[in-house]
Symmetry: D2
């Protein structure tokens, strides 16, 4: 690609430290299917951060896989999962959840977040066996619109779910960025207490591939490997994910990479702010959605790649800009310059 | 693992040339989801071997995923796939095929192979809409019992399938070993003509992970990406597979690695033959199934890992020994010595 | 039930003429599974009304069954069906559609109807293989809110669907009432031209059970019996439905029964109108939704059964009143008197 | 049909007493969806026979529906049901079980019965999460080959299932005939103790349609209505089944009808025996499988309808002859005469 891309956070490969670790351990014979020593070390490293020795941890190769398996393993066939209209499982997974037989019960969201009152309303509507029974709530953090949950918000969701006998599941495809946000007050240890299950996204934060599913609720633990195998997610060389997650979590690499991504996007957001541009959601994580004049957008698209999110009035559009652990500060500065010169 | 393992062909990581290629291309920005230049180069390299410019090629992360997606994408909801009782989809995929709604129509096999007469019999049984309609035949090469198909056998299957309006699908988890077998007379170009779809297994032959699905029949091509995405198989960093498969196929690495695996297991088979041991199927590919006295097995298990396949009479058992691209000849020699000394 | 019920249109059994016909033909030996002469006669009688000799007609025992089988038989696994948020398949079928693996793509509706612009918007959103592809539109006539489509509206939907390569499917659970509505300008012959498939509801209009699925589009015809059998809908004694539908359609009984139901509800609606009460949707078919003071509702509930549909402000609620072929005019008059006396 | 049919036991409608009862109760307003007083009375009548006040009873319209809902409601997504190769769910339901995502784990049967040792073998094979976990055993009584289980056999199956943590499910499509067999020593009360769930077939024994699912194991009771609704089996006018089953079970009509069917087929079997013909399974229930010379078969087919079951050597074939509650003794005598005259 000749133009520099702010299209997404998966345009580059993996952090060099992860490749090195793979190379170094490559010829050690290991058990297959996630029973290797690297997966075990990665689990221990993650549990040190979640401060929960009782969670079960599994590694899968992508977010759609994680979402599908977590949700279908938790629900009975007539149960559904509540999600925001903007949720990844509703919009961008080609019906993967429905393909396992489950309804996504939609609540309208303008900012990507689910609210306790929406959950309560859906539970009250579902009065008998003629309706799908809500049994889980799906949220993402950061959301598909770049927003993040506060600890107060997450606690309220957690309490609502407990009161209504719903599992709370957090999709952490971009959890690193959320937990490293300037507005964040949540820790991995909080997540372990406030959710029944969540996953830590590796693919979008330094890994070539891999998501770590962390199961906190005992009810969701039994037989999870059967679900992994049945849905094609049990890699025979699970070491690929074990080695990477161990590197990411043995110290603080995971958070350092996310912080870099956020800092890069904040730099852009600050520049846009200064120029007087507004955003469709507040810049908090590594995805921002500024509203720009169409002619500026056209000019930028000659040198950069990014998505036009939404056409708006007055010859303006919202665009999506995404940074990652690999985004070079030089390119960010160049991009800012190109905006400011305008 | 302190003991040397002949348990399987996925105990080690990937061939060093593949890691090097990943490291070298790591920071180039690329399109996601298999649209990167490496996947494209890999497709071109594979098509040069299959001699079929019209096939569509997709990369997925494992064999169960490949089988599930190929089969469910090809069948209508009331159609089933014929397979041997020994077939991987029947035995070792936790009902992944049935989980997508399809019946596996079983034909009994003692050697892992499906025969034309079994296919014909099932088609004739399925007379009307009260029965599942057979629409595909699943075979594996090499089979789960280490046997391989001859070109004559494969041609007969292909003709039977055509005559009965069935797709022929070949699971090539261990295709490298099959095509490098001393008894093999099939080429990738033959496969491209004789099957409607097959996959080339990377995971068990040099890759850390990855299978290349090759679709030859036009009917099976449309919308395949939808199936990949819906089943969680569309990796955002598809480059991981593109880079590896390009290395394996740009010259002959794929076949060289398979030949090494075969040569290692043949050395063991020859030694066992010489000692007068028999096998439950003829040694042809990188899995052999010798019948050994239980006390010899017990002694070997002190130093080596392998599976006991089947308890037999007279204090004997069949065991499964597997070699791979990474199996060291020293260890093979040591193992032979340990047998012969007995 | 000691109170008279306006709760629904399935509180009584079947029209006496249907029982008589069953009794009279009872001991004739017939082929099973819908291949009997009565089903055949019913098909001929229905085709005389639809004026389409080329449609295929099948009988199933209920509406959820009809919806599930029609939709799943028409869609590929990654395709979805567009429906109103109020649609029966979305609200009151316990996720039956999703249980076959398909997403319902929701468009918001306040009156139960789907509009062409909503369909177009969903088609434009679904840009690639990361999203479910819309392939069918589901509407009901009369709708779940008692409203009916005009011929102009239905024609516009039909054209929109054709232009976007979508099947148009009409759920006719209460089709009799819709086609007998004072505002109706659609015929069965129109439906046969304007939809790809629809069903004629017997259960709610004189039959003890049975819905007639009418398939107009050739693409949807092949193999339909396989779907019926796989989903448990192929009754061995299909004559039960054949005999009933022949009676309903050999002359005009089906429409006479629906007209009676409508006339009964119109009488109530007129009385309510005269008393100055309003409705949440215009009274058109055999379900009306008047807004009444809560104390009047409480008084009526002492003598009658009906559902409170929605709590409103000012001590009022919307209620649902339903009449059927079996509703006695005496009871209707008594009910009106009880309202007017208030 | 101009020829008299011994093809099946569903060629006629329902027993006149059932029609009369439907006619008499037809206009009483009743609750929908199986909550009517007739269903309740039928439940009480059945429980008086099963001597189990704690079972839950639901009525559905056909056998495939019963099998699908019972099995899918009992199994987790990765669990399977053990059945004989001859089992109806394996052969003649168009993959209905697999369509809900579950594998049928096959055990070979020559006489239609499942044996404890087959169950044990399958449980021992299924060692870990790479294989489908057996969780239920499906048997039919009478079987698809006309054989019946003895109390000793059923007790052994029941104990095997309990020891292996498997549910035992009995498909009673032809339970009336089995329990009325000359060789039977099982009662409905025994079934209630020895199985976890079974169904009593009405359609093939006097009803126009209807099967009564009797759930004995508490684990299988919760939420069953959700499954019924989701799979399209909750008829809005459930009274149709309630009225019929009340008539069948308020006294002994169910058994009287089955006894008639058996007596008719025994008469034929005795005549065939006397003529020296043999059978592929012992005549016990209302389906018999005599082996006849092909020229005799051809002659009989001029006057009667029945299925040729299997072509055999020496110009012979096995045929299937089926009688029902409605089979006239005159026709049976005529058929016997036609055989004997030969």
């Amino acid at each position: 690609m000749s133009k520099f891309s702010f299209k997404n956070d998966y345009s580059e490969g993996f952090h060099p430290q992860l490749i090195d670790a793979l190379a170094k351990t490559n010829l050690e014979q290991q058990e297959g299917y996630g029973e290797d020593v690297f997966c075990e070390k990665a689990r221990i490293a993650i549990k040190a951060k979640t401060e929960n020795q009782n969670s079960d941890i599994y590694f899968v190769s992508g977010g759609t896989q994680a979402n599908t398996i977590v949700i279908t393993s938790a629900l009975k066939s007539f149960e559904g999962v509540i999600a925001a209209t903007t949720g990844h499982i509703n919009v961008h997974e080609t019906g993967a959840i429905e393909a396992t037989g489950h309804k996504i019960i939609l609540v309208y969201s303008h900012d990507g977040k689910v609210k306790p009152e929406d959950i309560i309303a859906e539970c009250e509507r579902a009065e008998d066996h003629h309706m799908v029974r809500p049994a889980m709530v799906y949220i993402s953090n950061s959301t598909e619109l770049g927003s993040i949950y506060t600890k107060t918000e997450l606690t309220a969701l957690s309490e609502t779910c407990k009161a209504r006998n719903l599992y709370l599941y957090l999709d952490g495809a971009r959890l690193g960025s959320a937990l490293s946000s300037i507005n964040n007050d949540i820790t991995l240890a909080d997540l372990s207490k406030l959710t029944d299950v969540f996953y830590i996204g590796g693919t979008k934060n330094g890994a070539i591939m891999g998501e770590a599913i962390v199961i906190n609720n005992d009810n969701l633990k039994a037989d999870f490997k059967y679900h992994l195998k049945q849905r094609g997610a049990l890699l025979s060389k699970g070491r690929l994910m074990g080695v990477q997650f161990y590197e990411l979590f043995k110290e603080n690499l995971f958070f350092e990479l996310a912080l870099h991504a956020n800092n890069m996007v904040y730099k852009i957001a600050d520049a846009l702010n200064e120029k007087g541009f507004t955003f469709i959601t507040k810049p908090e994580s590594n995805q921002i959605f500024p509203i720009l004049p169409n002619d500026l957008i056209d000019k930028l698209l000659l040198k950069y790649e990014f998505y036009i999110w939404q056409k708006l009035e007055d010859n303006k559009s919202a665009v999506r800009l995404v940074t990652s652990w690999a985004t070079s500060e030089n390119k960010v500065d160049e991009f800012i310059e190109d905006i400011c010169r305008d």
